[in-house]
């Protein structure tokens, strides 16, 4: 029950710098290997990194509704298993040891035994535009642990809550009745349904790790070194500074109204080519309207800031913003969560 609401003491927040994301999905894989390999979790990818523009995961999530409009909670579409996709099985036993030679081959099938129609990275590297002015970038997404979590408000069982110590949004899976109102309410469609256990599940921000001073798996695994983890309100924290001081980290789809606590440094892109094929050094190829539709009106000024700082760097001047984004020392990405997981004593050990 959500009685006696207190302010969140230290709201956790993440910043993803999209100028460094190479779409390796190390983040998705790290999360999957840690949390979602159990029964009913085959199709659950709490962290995804979609090619944008793209239909994303679940397919066309941006048009599925949810969140808030004019301050009122809106329930949108509940994504289906088919719209998420990705929990495919493979007939390896048959192919490798079934003695059928070349008459069979490795074939993916959904849980229903049908061919795949969608998955967590289905439209990888396809993008939009028209050759030669095609464009895309990668957008890693996790649960935003919103300040106004529509899921919490929508839950009829009172199973969902937002922690006062760090703002992480969680669900008591023992209490969850599987109404899936949270899935309808979340406008980012980052909540999955476990069809075996009949409960909803979503990214828990690796709270067991955070509690021990270790960054979430997605952040720590990222070979691109682009995921900042920190605390809003702490003025020395890089995450806070990127969002509130330099103001180069923007929320995704702020119009959904849930006030996400995951932010993005928007992507620069290679220059467009003119009709005659020459390089138009005034215009980056990702259409500004498209970026605005994702990150809001301030995206133009953020991109200009980045370009200006890079010009200054080229001229030999120093830039604290760029030094922060370069991340000379990897650990600085994680603020107070820079501990090494391998040396943390495991609770299991302690319990013995």
């Amino acid at each position: 029950m959500t009685v006696g609401r207190e302010p969140v003491r230290n709201q956790l927040a993440l910043v993803f710098d999209l100028n460094k994301c190479i779409g390796c999905q190390g983040c998705s894989v790290a999360c999957k290997m840690l949390w979602t390999r159990g029964p009913g979790e085959e199709h659950q990818w709490w962290c995804t990194a979609n090619t944008m523009p793209g239909r994303g995961t679940p397919r066309d999530w941006e048009q599925m509704g949810g969140g808030y409009r004019d301050g009122e909670l809106v329930l949108g579409h509940e994504p289906t298993l088919e719209e998420f996709g990705g929990g495919w099985r493979f007939n390896k036993e048959e192919v490798f040891f079934g003695g059928k030679g070349q008459s069979v081959h490795l074939t993916p099938t959904t849980a229903e035994g049908t061919p795949p129609t969608w998955g967590p990275n289905w439209d990888e590297d396809q993008g939009a535009g028209e050759f030669p002015n095609a464009y895309y970038f990668y957008l890693p997404r996790i649960c935003n642990h919103c300040t106004r979590p529509a899921c919490v408000e929508a839950c009829p069982s009172g199973a969902m809550y937002k922690r006062e110590e760090d703002g992480i949004v969680l669900r008591d899976e023992d209490v969850c009745k599987g109404s899936r109102k949270c899935m309808q309410a979340c406008p980012y469609k980052k909540i999955y349904f476990n069809h075996v256990r009949r409960v909803a599940q979503h990214c828990n921000l690796c709270f067991p790790r955070l509690e021990k001073g270790v960054a979430p798996a997605c952040a720590r695994n990222c070979p691109g070194r682009l995921v900042f983890v920190g605390i809003l309100g702490d003025e020395t924290d890089p995450v806070h500074r990127l969002v509130y001081e330099w103001k180069v980290a923007l929320p995704l789809h702020a119009e959904f109204g849930t006030e996400p606590n995951v932010f993005y440094v928007p992507p620069l892109s290679p220059y467009r080519l003119r009709e005659d094929g020459s390089i138009d050094t005034e215009t980056m190829r990702i259409p500004p309207e498209y970026l605005e539709s994702l990150f809001g009106q301030r995206v133009h000024e953020v991109l200009a800031t980045l370009r200006r700082e890079m010009e200054r760097a080229r001229a030999g001047e120093s830039s604290e913003l760029l030094d922060t984004l370069i991340v000379y020392q990897w650990k600085t990405l994680f603020g107070p969560f820079g501990k090494e997981p391998a040396v943390v004593s495991a609770a299991k050990e302690e319990g013995r």
Binding site: D123, R163, P208, N221, R225, K348
Partner: protein, 957 residues
């Protein structure tokens, strides 16, 4: 594909963002009373043990230390061991490394279809019908078949394919190679060019291709080309340095026909038509020369541009031209300071081993002179630079624009930016080697870098390919012939002359002939393969003779060794890790001819591969986390990464160390029982089979099991040239395994030069390392005929096809007269085929093979996204699904690497359409630095640019 992506903009404009300050103050919790349930997740994140591991035998061109988390005796998951200390405060550190597939190996490790026990086929090859064997039975049958072949036909009919995915730089691979190469006297296939990884253009220009420093050097570059490469897929752990460099002020230019995944974070994209990269390079070189933007002092010293060439025959002026009995490997330039011609130092025949120029020497780049030959005739000679200028005159940016489709203006902009940059690099690695005329593209890249003084030496410069520190495991051997029991003394040689090293390696190759390059070997032993490969219509139309004639000459002159020599045929094939039937060019043809004729084929692997399906025996190897070893020592980082055993080998699998020793023991036993004592190999060396195991183990010093493993690893860590300077204490292996990595403190000069390990700079990690310091700073001669970066190659076969300088040539019609061209490269989702069937990786794609098509080509053929399509030409075909994308250049079809044959209907593979077209001048000999030796000049496997057509096919029922 997304429709208009901006449909939510109107909603957005109505929305007023909350005041940020107010937002922070209003951040309220939703408290909850019953939070004890959270322990469920807390308990999930627990473990019993953490062990340092790595992906030991994977040829991923990276090296990453991982933590394996073991729970209840199972490796639950892995996470990077991100403990690389900050080396320099103004250079980003190496953490965390790792890649997508590497972070999901634990999923594959426990795949229920892993090979659990030795198996023997009971049906036809490829039928998938197996019988379980005990190790004892397997060893005995294999040993007997091996001894049959050796005693009947000789050990040159025993073929070992070390592939490229068999690279434990510690003990597994090394012991295996030692058995087959040294102890049995068998033949080993040289796969470097065989997989299409040989930068022939760099070999032609530099006499080496091992061009790389440490990856943090990329951060120091001011101008970065990503050319015929895709580091966002293939260098996941180190790509960050490129984009950090960009934030630092570097400009990034991606050169690719498609808007590739590595174009995302570039500033500029040049999109030449597939196969026209030489024209692009020449167009930009034209600008550099015409506008005087080249570094004259640099090229006078470091290149052959001042060297004199005869007008009459297009050949370098040689001492033998001017003097009776003169050397034909000494050359001249015109000294502007003295007004005379002068013999150049540092050439292949010179005894003066330096290319430094003194105050009285000013090699002329321009002009023409007449000289009198020994026979009295007078000929006109000009410096290479004059010929270069004449060649470049044919490649104005406008002309290059017609050829490439890249506007002239863009070439001018980029060329000028390149010239103005403090330092420039081209990231261009193995992917650049797989086109028929790749050598011409790469020579063009060398021209650009050499003209601007960017071939290495200074920070952030050079063509970055990749290289390795010396493999620690090889310290176990003394001159590659026996395991050592005593440590070798470090060699006093400080900075060897690379020319001398090259000459030594060429001489050794001629004496110890057991390494054979793949493509000539397939050509010699498979007549059906040879027929297709020798199709003249698939090769350069400028060739004056048929391919088959060139091949005959190559074999006659022994320019490319082949063993066994026909009519002897290969009878026994063993490979562990590699996947020949997936990787070889035109594998369907080979499968039905050469493969059929090999009596016994043995696969050793932890998983089922296409080649495994088609073999006679499968021996289960232990997985990467189930054995101790050393990850191969890629030079990107100054560390040796090691992996320890996190859990015992699963099921009945064994460490390759144990497999090899077990097999050797059985061979010895069976040899004694059958009265087979010695065999003599093709070099005349005798191998005592009845003492094989005793010799291999140095009389019981290095035996099976943990004790033998540890003893060997202790020896390696204590004595290898790159770890001996690091203090590892009394138990060096234990110390290394605890940390997962060993810092390299020193690399003796000789070892910076041998074989693969050719950074050719002093090891001084007081700053990031750049390659080729010995040529640039110490002025040692380059290992080429001219002792310089060679723009001009006057071998007869180059002259006759107009390739003495680089030139543009239209892509060959390999595969037939078809309008589309196959492109590709290594995948994001797998290292070669190893993870292609990893369930988690497949779920992050479409579950099976796909190819990317342009909108234009798809529309013309009535193909929609995810339709099944047939890709075909006159050589073969395969069926997969289409992904339609505006990033693809019309005419291009992109199929990324290494889908397994069992992922296609009918067991086809991508390489079924690749005819293995032949470019004869890639296999020449008797020309200074252009001759064969292991992992050096040979014919590449060419899967790119193959001519194909695509059509839609019906769904299977």
């Amino acid at each position: 594909m997304a429709e208009s992506p901006v449909s939510s903009v109107p909603a957005l404009r109505r929305f007023k963002p909350l005041d940020p300050e107010a937002r922070l103050q209003n951040l309220m919790s939703h408290p909850y009373e019953y939070r004890a349930w959270e322990d469920v997740y807390r308990e999930e994140w627990t473990w019993d043990d953490v062990v340092k591991v790595s992906h030991l035998r994977v040829n991923c061109i990276e090296s990453c230390s991982f933590d394996a988390y073991v729970k209840d005796g199972i490796v639950w998951r892995e996470e990077q061991n991100a403990n690389y200390p900050q080396e320099f405060k103004d250079i980003p550190d190496f953490n965390p490394r790792g890649c997508g597939p590497g972070c999901a190996y634990a999923a594959q490790m426990y795949d229920p279809t892993r090979i659990r026990y030795p198996m023997k086929r009971v049906g036809e090859r490829g039928s998938g019908r197996w019988q379980r064997l005990s190790w004892e039975q397997a060893f005995e049958e294999i040993a007997d078949k091996l001894l049959d072949v050796i005693s009947e036909d000789g050990s040159d009919c025993v073929i070992y394919d070390s592939g490229t995915t068999n690279i434990d730089a510690g003990i597994g691979s090394v012991m295996e190679m030692h058995l087959f190469m040294a102890c049995l006297g068998g033949i080993t296939i040289d796969n470097w060019a065989g997989v299409g990884d040989l930068p022939v253009g760099l070999i032609q220009s530099w006499g080496t291709y091992m061009s790389e420093g440490t990856a943090d050097d990329w951060f120091r570059s001011d101008y970065i080309f990503i050319w015929l490469a895709n580091p966002n897929y293939t260098r996941q752990p180190d790509a960050h340095f490129l984009y950090e460099a960009r934030y630092r002020g570097a400009k990034v230019v991606t050169v690719a026909p498609d808007f590739s995944p590595s174009t995302l974070h570039a500033d500029r994209w040049l999109n030449p038509r597939q196969g026209t990269d030489a024209a692009l390079a020449l167009g930009m070189a034209h600008v550099l020369v015409e506008e005087g933007l080249y570094d004259a002092e640099y090229v006078k010293e470091q290149t052959d541009l001042p060297f004199l060439v005869r007008d009459d025959n297009g050949r370098f002026l040689r001492q033998s031209d001017l003097e009776e009995g003169g050397a034909d490997d000494q050359f001249y330039f015109w000294n502007a300071a003295t007004g005379t011609k002068q013999l150049a130092t540092g050439t292949w025949g010179s005894e003066v081993m330096t290319i430094a120029l003194d105050a009285e020497t000013d090699p002329a780049l321009e002009g023409a002179h007449r000289v009198r030959l020994a026979d009295g005739t007078r000929v006109r000679v000009r410096p290479v630079f004059e010929l270069l200028r004449a060649r470049l005159a044919e490649y104005t940016p406008e002309r290059a624009a017609e050829i490439t489709g890249v506007p002239a203006k863009n070439m001018r902009v980029v060329a000028r930016e390149l010239a103005a940059a403090g330092s420039a690099m081209i990231f261009s690695s193995w992917g650049a080697c797989k086109h028929y005329h790749s050598d011409l593209f790469q020579r063009g890249m060398v021209y650009l870098m050499a003209l601007t003084g960017n071939s290495g030496g200074k920070p952030g410069s050079g063509i970055k390919v990749s290289t390795w520190w010396p493999f620690p495991g090889f310290s176990m051997f003394t001159m590659g012939t026996a395991l050592a029991s005593e440590p070798r003394e470090p060699d006093p040689m400080d900075r060897p002359q690379m020319q001398n090293v090259s000459k030594l390696l060429f001489a050794l190759t001629k004496q110890h002939r057991r390494l054979v390059p793949l493509i000539p070997w397939l050509y010699a032993h498979d007549p059906k393969f040879a027929e297709t490969a020798a199709t003249d219509a698939y090769a350069d139309p400028a060739l004056p003779r048929p391919i088959s004639e060139y091949m005959d000459e190559i074999f006659e002159k022994d320019w490319q060794p082949v063993h066994p020599k026909p009519p002897k045929r290969p009878r026994f094939l063993y490979y562990s890790g590699p996947n020949p039937l997936r990787r070889w060019p035109n594998p369907r043809t080979i499968r039905d001819s050469l493969w059929k004729s090999i009596d016994t084929i043995v696969t050793c692997d932890f998983r089922m591969s296409t080649s495994g399906m088609w073999s006679d025996y499968i021996l289960p190897a232990a997985g990467y986390y189930e054995k101790p070893g050393i990850k191969y020592t890629i030079s990107y980082l100054p560390y040796v990464v090691v992996g320890d055993r996190a859990v015992p080998p699963l099921y009945e699998s064994k460490h390759e160390w144990d497999i090899v020793l077990g097999l050797a023991k059985k061979i010895q036993e069976r040899a004694r029982a059958r009265g087979i004592d010695d065999c003599t190999d093709i070099n005349g060396n005798t191998h005592t089979l009845s003492n094989l195991y005793d010799e291999l183990t140095v009389n019981g010093l290095y035996t099976e099991g943990e004790k033998g493993e540890t003893r060997a690893l202790d020896y390696i860590m204590a004595n290898s040239p790159i770890t001996r300077a690091t203090d590892l204490g009394e138990q060096p292996w234990r110390k290394a395994a605890e940390d997962g990595m060993v810092k390299i403190e020193a690399v003796p000069g000789l070892f910076m030069a041998m074989g693969l390990n050719c950074m050719m700079s002093d090891f001084d990690y007081s700053e990031p390392l750049t390659q080729f310091g010995w040529f640039h700073k110490q002025k040692n001669p380059w290992p080429t005929l001219t002792g310089r970066q060679q723009f001009y190659i006057d071998h007869e076969w180059y002259l006759e096809v107009g390739e003495q300088l680089t030139v543009h040539k239209e892509p060959v019609a390999a595969g037939g007269p078809y309008p589309l061209r196959l492109n590709g490269g290594h995948a994001r989702w797998s290292q070669h085929s190893i993870m292609r069937a990893n369930q988690q990786m497949l779920r992050l794609q479409r579950g099976g093979p796909v190819a990317y098509l342009s909108h234009v080509d798809a529309r013309e053929r009535g193909i929609s996204d995810h339709d099944r399509i047939r890709v075909y030409n006159d050589v073969g075909e395969f069926v997969l699904r289409a992904k339609v994308s505006p990033t693809v250049q019309p005419g291009e079809v992109i199929c990324y690497h290494a889908w397994e044959g069992y992922q296609f209907p009918d067991g086809a593979v991508q390489n079924d359409v690749a005819p293995a077209a032949i470019k004869p001048n890639n296999m020449v000999g008797d020309y200074g630095h252009l001759q064969y030796r292991g992992h050096y000049l040979s014919m590449n496997n060419l899967p790119k640019e193959v001519a194909i057509e695509v059509e839609r096919v019906r769904e299977q029922s």
